[in-house]
Symmetry: C2
Subunit: 681 residues, 2 copies
């Protein structure tokens, strides 16, 4: 049951109890290990925004302007590093106008903050939750974000255990708990082994054999106890052998036995409470868990055992931040942070560390010292595309690079190879800025470091995908003020469009004939077109053009598209009529990625899709239709089109460079309305 203190750099909080000047020794005096400090700073970030008004001649010229982007910075560090932390704050805040730092120490309700934080990360960070599998190819199996995160059970294992049922944003109840928690492992472990450090105890445990201390079923019955369904290796009595045996037990063995005892107990309690309250999602957190593979493994094992695999133990990538995030949210309630969606900034977040025994000690030290999480506020709420067949099973990404080692190797190599080019383009995108080269060099270092980290810890930000590699690059570019290095080369897309239609058929994936057949049938009511346009308007079909909200690679953004469409309308009577008759609608997708996550779309887009009874979704481009959504199942007809512009990927998919994919799909049970619907003429 750790407490935390929120250090608040702003003096404008209503909830302030008292302002103190750092370092406030007397404040920290009573704080114990594993405390968290949430430092929330509304920083001024230099940002480049597209001009929304039409710039007559230079359509793609960018106007540079400063705006405030809401970003949350959470910095996690051990108490021992409080001085370092204060230095860090000084160093990092020295550039702001604030000369005197005042810190507010609020003692917030721990559990409320924990739950608020948990709700926040579950809702806002894709791949936040994961299943841990020690012996699997990929240690972490990340879960897709569910449309509805409630209800769930949170088992928080601090010194003791709190078992909390969370039913909605504001409704939670501590339905159970146990005094046998992390403090018991630590306390009993210290007494038994004379080892005082928690981490060392875990190290001991990872090397021990519990069977020399525990009494197993087979120690009593000579084998399994068949009639009760108990296997021989089951622990009948923790520490049962030390009751009568007159011998010394090794520290390692005792620590291991203790770990099993506590993990199994918590596991059973969690399962019983989950069953009693009919909850299938059970998250584990607290310092007993916090990224420790050995405790995640024993808890996972226990849950599997007690539920016979029916319930999975879920862990959270940002479990250590929950309290701090919750404290921030609580303090910022007047701003209603839940009305926005938030996204993890891969550039500013340190990601999940592996703390497996063979981990790099440097990484381990770093992880123990500082951990960072940055969250960018998106100025809109992101929701599921209403046309997803099954939102709960939708996975945007076609390839999971955490699981596919070969693909991972290729793409990491690929992005590293491409880095020089990106740096060049970044500099070229800001010809009037003399310090751009210097910034671009910093970007290179940062992104290269990210790629290196991901090579060793592909799980650092959840499932590693081409999308996340692209997003990370965008985030890093943004961090060094290169929001749109492709602004000068947007026309590249047109080249691919040309390739698309000049390629020889049959294409790699070729449903073109079926599509043509379909076009002979009754027109669609409304088509949702991600990015590009086709000739549908002339058939009477309404068209919703969804384009990126922010810049990514050379993709057209909503701002650009509006200008572009107006210009085309001036030349094309079909477009003109479409706009006039409200049959052509331009909507932001909510994304700033070259890829497309249909579970995180602008709420307005979802609304339009519903209102217009959209019955066709067109997804175009490699990022949107190949790297992501290649396997996405929609509840209406869909068209996925792309030219494979990467030879490795083409090879993987059984084609050649510049292979064309034209995938026309009709949901199962819904016959294509092609010839069947055409009345004989």
């Amino acid at each position: 049951m750790a407490e935390f203190v929120r250090l608040d750099s702003s003096t404008s909080r209503h909830t302030m109890d008292k302002s103190i000047t750092l370092p406030p020794d007397e404040i920290f005096r009573n704080l114990e290990n594993a405390k968290r400090f949430a430092i929330d700073i509304v920083a001024k970030v230099r940002s480049f925004d597209k001009a929304t008004k039409a710039a007559s001649d230079k359509l793609y010229e960018i106007s540079v302007q400063e705006e405030v982007t809401a970003r949350l910075h959470f910095i996690k560090f051990e108490n021992a590093y409080i001085e370092t932390c204060l230095d860090f704050i000084k160093d990092h805040l020295v550039n702001t106008e604030t000369k005197v730092i005042k810190a507010t120490v609020d003692k917030e309700d721990e559990m409320t903050c924990l739950i608020k934080g948990c709700n926040f990360v579950l809702r806002n960070i894709p791949h936040e939750a994961f299943v841990y599998a020690k012996h699997a190819d990929s240690e972490f199996r990340f879960q897709t974000t569910q449309p509805d995160i409630f209800p769930y059970l949170l088992v928080n294992i601090g010194s003791g255990v709190s078992i909390v049922k969370v039913e909605s944003e504001d409704k939670f109840e501590r339905i159970g708990g146990s005094s046998i928690g992390g403090g018991t492992f630590w306390g009993l472990g210290a007494l038994l082994t004379k080892t005082k450090r928690f981490d060392e105890l875990l190290q001991l445990a990872s090397k021990g054999q519990h069977t020399s201390v525990d009494m197993l079923v087979k120690d009593i019955y000579g084998g399994s106890y068949g009639s009760l369904g108990l296997t021989g290796d089951l622990i009948a009595s923790s520490f049962g052998k030390s009751a009568t045996a007159d011998k010394e037990f090794s520290k390692e063995d005792m620590a291991k036995s203790l770990l099993h005892m506590i993990s199994n107990d918590i596991g059973q309690l969690a399962c019983l409470y989950a069953k009693l309250h009919n909850l299938s999602r059970v998250y584990f957190g607290g310092f007993f868990i916090r990224g420790h593979p050995v405790t995640m493994h024993t808890i996972t094992y226990s849950i599997n055992f007690f539920t016979k695999g029916e319930v999975q133990a879920l862990f959270l990538r940002h479990e250590g931040y929950l309290g701090a995030i919750g404290a921030f949210l609580k303090g910022a309630e007047e701003d209603n942070p839940n009305q926005y969606s938030w996204g993890e900034n891969y550039a500013g977040s340190s990601g999940l560390m592996s703390v497996s025994p063979d981990m790099n000690p440097m990484q381990r030290a770093r992880s123990g010292t500082f951990d960072m999480l940055e969250m960018d506020r998106l100025e809109r709420q992101l929701v599921n595309l209403p046309l997803l067949q099954d939102p709960s099973s939708y996975i945007p990404d076609t390839m999971d690079l955490t699981e596919d080692a070969l693909a991972r190797e290729y793409w990491l190599y690929c992005f590293e190879e491409a880095l020089d080019g990106v740096v060049k383009r970044a500099v070229a995108s800001q010809p009037d800025m003399p310090e751009a080269a210097e910034r671009a060099e910093k970007f290179r270092q940062k992104y290269r470091h990210k790629l290196q980290t991901l090579r060793h810890q592909p799980f650092a930000y959840g499932s590693l995908t081409v999308r996340s590699l692209l997003d990370t690059r965008e985030h890093c570019l943004n961090e060094f003020n290169f929001p749109d290095p492709y602004s000068k080369i947007w026309h590249l897309g047109l080249i691919y469009l040309f390739i698309f239609f000049s390629s020889e058929r049959p294409w790699l994936v070729d449903s073109y004939d079926q599509w043509l057949e379909r076009l002979r049938g009754p027109p669609h009511k409304c088509a949702l077109f991600f990015v590009d346009n086709s000739g549908l308007l002339s058939r009477g079909t309404e068209v919703v053009l969804a384009s990126n909200s922010g810049p990514a690679l050379n993709d057209v953004t909503n701002g650009e598209l509006q200008i572009l469409t107006e210009r085309i309308a001036a030349m094309d009577p079909v477009i003109q009529a479409g706009l006039r008759e409200d049959r052509l609608t331009l909507v932001q997708s909510g994304s700033s990625s070259p890829c497309l996550d249909l579970s995180r779309l602008d709420k307005v887009l979802a609304q339009v899709v519903r209102e217009r009874q959209t019955d066709l979704v067109i997804i175009e481009g490699m990022g949107r239709a190949i790297h992501t959504n290649y396997y996405a199942m929609l509840s209406c007809e869909s068209l996925k089109m792309a030219v494979i512009k990467n030879s490795w990927l083409a090879d993987r998919l059984g084609g050649k460079l510049f292979s064309v994919v034209f995938k026309y799909e009709v949901p199962a049970g819904k016959p294509s309305q092609g010839s069947a619907a055409v009345t004989p003429s």
Copy 2:
């Protein structure tokens, strides 16, 4: 998870695996502490039975005959005393004809035996289950036997914990368990305190302060955690203080903390399983519990805490015998022992020991060495009187001497004072037997010792009552072959009948007028008369005469009553007609006590009561209507009549010696059928 071995003195078992000659070292080699040996012996007991055929002149003369009475002897002892045990067997079996003892060692399924044993004691031993209350006036609160013992939860805390749901005699399931059990207390306790003996660990624990080792809620939050409903004294983390504190902890404190940790954990698991399976009766057993007040207290506390008092932790007086009893029952399945009812023989059973720290060390040693349980087989099944208003709340005894210290003192004194007289009467009842005096002296010693034991341990055989004191005396008399010392003075009852009707009104309890009023109404359909007869036959009411099955004090037995009735019929035409027209029925009550337990009546009686639509129950005499059943609520009209033949009791009830109680009761909501039913004539 203890094993047990059944030592069987008979060679006729079908289930025998191998016969061995005692002492069989190699058999006991692998046995651990806390093993049980069930020694079941079908002994030839000299017994006096009433002649059932009419003896012309000497109506009350007894014919002495030998018959086999089925009796179970369970002897419990620690492994260390195996030699003593074998001596005991030799000493006690030397009088039988068996010269060579052969022992059969069967390894039975432990859990099946445990459950069989548990069902058996719950069904057959009144006051078997009790609630433990450390600080209450009476430490043990015994439960009345429930008509249906199923379903229940058995939490068996041996080395580990097994949680078993029992649904019927043959259906049970181990629904859960835990490795944190008695072996963990013992094993971890031994490692922490270097104390190897289980009992010593409990002693240490009873002296320790867990608060110096455990981290409490107030240690973290400075007080309670109000919003979560956690009080400040709640244990947040077991051993939490030893995680960081750099100091030595006392053995006592650590043992106490460990005990709390384990008891609370088991308590919570038990509650969750009970809730999940909708079970309200939860029994705790196993060597962790076995009569240890300190573990019963912590388990009770835990259950109260987790169920907010909704579920009570129940313990069993004969918990230590369950496996042995079950093993016997399993071995004797061809005899179907469950078709009979059984009764605890107070003379041969050692009773529940107090093991509270201030207990007599001698008693403690005895308890550790030998414990005995004897069960007599009753040749009939005992059931509830179908006319009980609420069988589950029926308590036969009017006064609970375990709770009422003054009454206990009086009655113990009373029975001790009366002992000389009983001894004299016993000798006088067998004028032709020269060794009767010697036997009577042995009886005196035995019963006096019982009374002394009960003075210190009134809870030894469940709730102490006048009935149990009387029964114990009967059992002791029987043990020394004085089955009916009152056989010569049965006519004494007639004197009291005279007093009854010659007393001046108003009597102490006087519903006589209401009764007379009732008699003016329509006649009853059928009256159940315990023991005596009245003039009801002449009104057309059928009469069921229920009399004792075996002798007790000067009460008439069924055999005697049959003879008596036939004789009266020869003189009285009403009785004669009643017998001839089957309106007068003589049935055994199933009891051999001067008192009356309406929840343990002969099955045939219950059947007759139902068939004849009995609407009146008449209970007569001090034992049946005052010591027991004074407050019994029946679903039909009832008449309780007695003369109070004891001045202390008369005083207690606010009357004088020879006060008359005439209690006519009509169940609530059922108006008396007196005047209201009388048609105007």
